[in-house]
């Protein structure tokens, strides 16, 4: 009997892929990974999408998602090789000995059953506890995880609690059968930044109090640094570096780890406002058709040529609605928008072609922002044709110039969006916006769907392009690290109002109002002990909590 709870040896995992236009074939997605986990310890698995971190996490339950198969190696849990276990043996293991917390609690809970029934289900059906004992245990966990009214919250349905609370309920679900190991798969990624740290703290305390061991999977090094004892950095299914949290954060050895640690450290000199703002949003109040409350309430902001205004706030704060109002998709109830010394028509139909051309937009999900049936050449070429009447060779030459500008070669011109990586897709969207030679580009969460290193590349590209093209950005984001990297001025939005507005240095210097303080302090920092420090110093509770 070894003293390790989990021993993984030379784990190899394969999958069948179905690339468009080619025959399906098998690829290897995890190439011989080995690691140990002692009882009561937390190991952070970190890497970009496709690094194999979730796949490795699930292998601790001897499980492969659809099409994924464990092809070699050994996984020992409590001294037995679970890859050799029968289906019956695995059933006894999963859900009681090793449990799992997924990214989306909303998608994981059955909406038709009460929370308590779902939390106690595994313990009761496996005969680990009687129903009464399991329920008592669940109530205890609800209290430990900081859920309101722990005695009665179990009798609610999943839709009757908030997103952050539901994520805590799922943690209670995982801890209820008193497992030896919990696999946390990006448990806070889908939450708002202000909610994230509360859930993170709850998870951390629950792990500490119950003495359970955990695999903590995330793409955010700053988050994993708060909860783990050790960190394993993964890239393309291979281990890059393994070490204690302290060593990985403060003295990374490999270049890849260094890049991950230093992400979000773009230097950006704040520009001073000019005399003549190019965009003036004046007293905008707006609501959606068929509703009776204002999503935007008396919003006033200004943006100067060649500068970046960041609109920050959590989901539901109205920041994307502001973009819809500026672009003309949602005519406001009140207020007006001045752009390049003229007043824009409130609705899209009333705007001139020049209004439309000078005001471009880049979306969060590059996948759906491009027509999957058009080639890169058509996507970038259409604005050239539409606004400037370019055709044939002339158009092709300009497309190639634009591809150069976004640091992609002209080899991409005949490719379809499905044949591009996430970062390349976003670059093509940037090129499409640039093709119109706009004065202002609205960037709606353009980096939040991307891996940190890729997002960094996109931000750097946007900053470089700003210098060359002198284009202004209205940058909508919930991520303050991004804001620090690129903004010249900042508007903090909360429940449809601008609660703080000014140049970057003004907004980010104390004294803070309560909400800005909450928002600023919620951005995970890459240092040990940050989480405890923040929780101790907070002025207000997060709304999603």
């Amino acid at each position: 009997m070894s003293d390790q709870l989990l021993k993984v040896r030379d784990l190899k995992i394969g999958a069948t892929v179905y690339p468009p236009g080619e025959k399906p074939h098998d690829i290897q997605i995890v190439h011989g990974v080995s690691f140990d986990l002692a009882p009561g310890k937390v190991l952070g698995l970190i890497g970009e999408s496709g690094a194999g971190k979730s796949t490795i996490g699930l292998s601790a339950m001897a499980y492969g998602r659809g099409g994924v198969e464990i092809t070699g190696g050994e996984v020992w849990v409590n001294g037995r090789d679970i890859l050799q276990e029968s289906v019956k043996g695995l059933r006894a293991l999963r859900g009681t000995e090793v449990t799992y917390v997924s990214q989306s609690a909303a998608a994981s809970f059955n909406p038709a059953k009460k929370i308590m029934d779902q939390v106690t289900e595994a313990s009761v059906s496996q005969g680990k506890f009687s129903r009464a004992d399991a329920e008592a245990k669940a109530v205890e966990l609800f209290a430990k995880l900081g859920l309101p009214d722990p005695e009665n919250i179990g009798s609610r349905y999943p839709h009757q609690v908030s997103g952050g609370q539901l994520q805590r309920c799922m943690t209670a679900l995982a801890l209820c059968p008193e497992p030896d190991l919990v696999v946390f798969d990006e448990p806070t990624t889908a939450l708002d930044v202000t909610t994230q740290i509360d859930v993170l703290m709850a998870i951390k305390e629950a792990i500490r109090d119950t003495g359970v061991a955990a695999l903590y999977i995330t793409h955010d090094l700053a988050v994993v640094a708060q909860v783990s004892d050790d960190i394993m950095v993964l890239k393309m299914g291979e281990m890059v570096e393994y070490g204690s949290v302290d060593q990985i954060i403060n003295a990374p050895q490999e270049d890849y780890t260094k890049a991950l640690v230093s992400v979000r450290s773009i230097d950006h000199e704040e520009k001073t406002p000019t005399d003549n703002p190019m965009l003036k949003v004046e007293n905008i109040t707006a609501r959606y058709k068929g509703t009776n409350f204002d999503v935007l309430n008396d919003v006033n902001v200004e943006l100067h040529p060649g500068q970046t205004l960041a609109i920050v706030g959590e989901s539901g704060s109205g920041k994307s609605t502001l973009a819809r109002v500026i672009t003309g998709l949602l005519p406001p109830r009140d207020g007006r928008i001045e752009f390049s010394d003229r007043t824009l028509s409130p609705d899209l139909a009333g705007r001139t072609r020049d209004d439309l051309r000078e005001l471009q937009m880049i979306y969060q999900m590059a996948d759906v922002a491009m027509n999957p049936r058009q080639t890169v050449g058509t996507i970038i070429g259409r604005p050239l044709e539409f606004y400037f009447g370019l055709r044939g060779e002339e158009k092709r030459k300009r497309i190639k110039e634009l591809l150069d500008e976004i640091e992609m070669g002209d080899g991409f011109i005949d490719r379809y969006p499905a044949e591009l990586s996430g970062g390349q897709k976003q670059r093509v969207c940037i090129a499409r916006a640039l093709a119109a030679q706009p004065k202002l580009i609205i960037c709606d969460e353009v980096t939040s769907a991307l891996d940190p290193l890729v997002a960094d590349g996109i931000l750097k590209l946007l900053l470089d392009l700003q210098k060359v093209e002198n284009v202004a950005y209205l940058f909508i984001t919930h991520d303050l690290a991004t804001v620090r990297a690129i903004a010249d001025s900042i508007a903090v939005m909360y429940q449809g109002r601008v609660v703080r507005y000014g140049s970057k240095s003004e907004v980010l210097s104390p004294p803070f109002d309560d909400y800005t303080d909450l928002l600023l302090s919620s951005v995970p920092e890459m240092k040990l002990g940050w989480l405890e420090e923040v929780i101790a110093n907070r002025k207000m509770e997060s709304a999603g909590n």
Partner: protein, 271 residues
């Protein structure tokens, strides 16, 4: 080049066989369509491969010409129903609002009347000519296509790339034909095979009931009707057109399935 699955090969073989027969009918048919060349219900022989029909016309020739009429009517009616149905469906989805409401409720109204009864009523009032048949069939079927096209387009219309096109200032024509249509094609193509078959069945039914293709013009449903009395005496002349309708239906479906599979796995296909 992708290898053809067996089912698709069978489908393509029979479908093209019938279509070629329809196109080259005058060259292939051994006898003219309406000429009486033998006795009543003669059995199969070297002279008359499928025998003769109820008044002594060569059955093979009637089958070939009949296929021509049936396939021609079904094809043109399908094209009519698809063009009107999908364009109106896309337009309703893109414009939305009361235009969408008005069009959709009108379509609901038409769909609430059983198709066959509707067709019988119209055709018993109007002169029964082939263009009229095509018009009536195309119109009735376009309501089904409209429903499908609108549903697909509503989904696509809310995607960011369509919004990007609207923000660029593109007109409705561009949005319908360049943004939505290419992405709606695969469900529509699959449906097209199915609708074509319904057209074949529909025109055969109408002819069988005497309100479709008028004699002496041949069509498969009509041939069944003309020879149905023979079945009582053990004469199988009515079964040939029935077999032809069934095999055409199955083979066109096999082709449509294959096309659907292919287009969804195309580059950038939407599943």
């Amino acid at each position: 080049m992708m290898r053809l699955p067996l089912a698709a090969m069978i489908g393509i073989f029979f479908t093209s066989l019938y279509f070629l027969m329809a196109i080259f009918a005058p060259l292939l048919a051994p006898y003219p369509m309406t000429e009486i060349v033998g006795g009543v219900w003669e059995p199969m022989s070297a002279k008359h491969w499928l025998g003769t029909d109820n008044i002594g016309r060569d059955l093979l020739s009637r089958m070939i010409y009949g296929g021509r009429t049936t396939i021609f009517i079904a094809t043109v009616a399908t094209i009519v129903s698809f063009t009107t149905g999908s364009i109106l469906g896309f337009t309703a989805a893109v414009i939305g609002g009361w235009v969408d409401q008005a069009m959709s409720r009108f379509v609901d109204l038409v769909m609430s009347i059983p198709t066959l009864i509707f067709a019988l009523v119209v055709l018993s009032v109007m002169p029964v000519t082939i263009p009229m048949l095509i018009m009536v069939m195309g119109f009735l079927d376009s309501t089904r296509v409209y429903r499908l096209a609108r549903a697909v387009a509503v989904d696509i219309n809310v995607m960011d790339f369509v919004e990007a096109a609207k923000l660029r200032g593109e007109g409705r024509i561009w949005i319908i034909f360049r943004e939505i249509l290419p992405n709606a094609l695969s469900p529509l193509v699959a449906e097209m095979g199915l609708r074509f078959i319904f057209m074949v069945l529909f025109v055969s039914t109408l002819s069988f009931l005497g309100l479709g293709v008028q004699p002496p013009q041949a069509d498969w449903g009509g041939i069944v009707k003309e020879n149905k009395d023979g079945i009582v005496y053990g004469i199988g002349a009515a079964l040939w057109p029935a077999v032809a309708i069934a095999t055409l239906a199955i083979s066109v479906n096999l082709v449509a399935d294959w096309v659907l599979n292919r287009t969804t796995s195309l580059k950038g296909g939407r599943g």
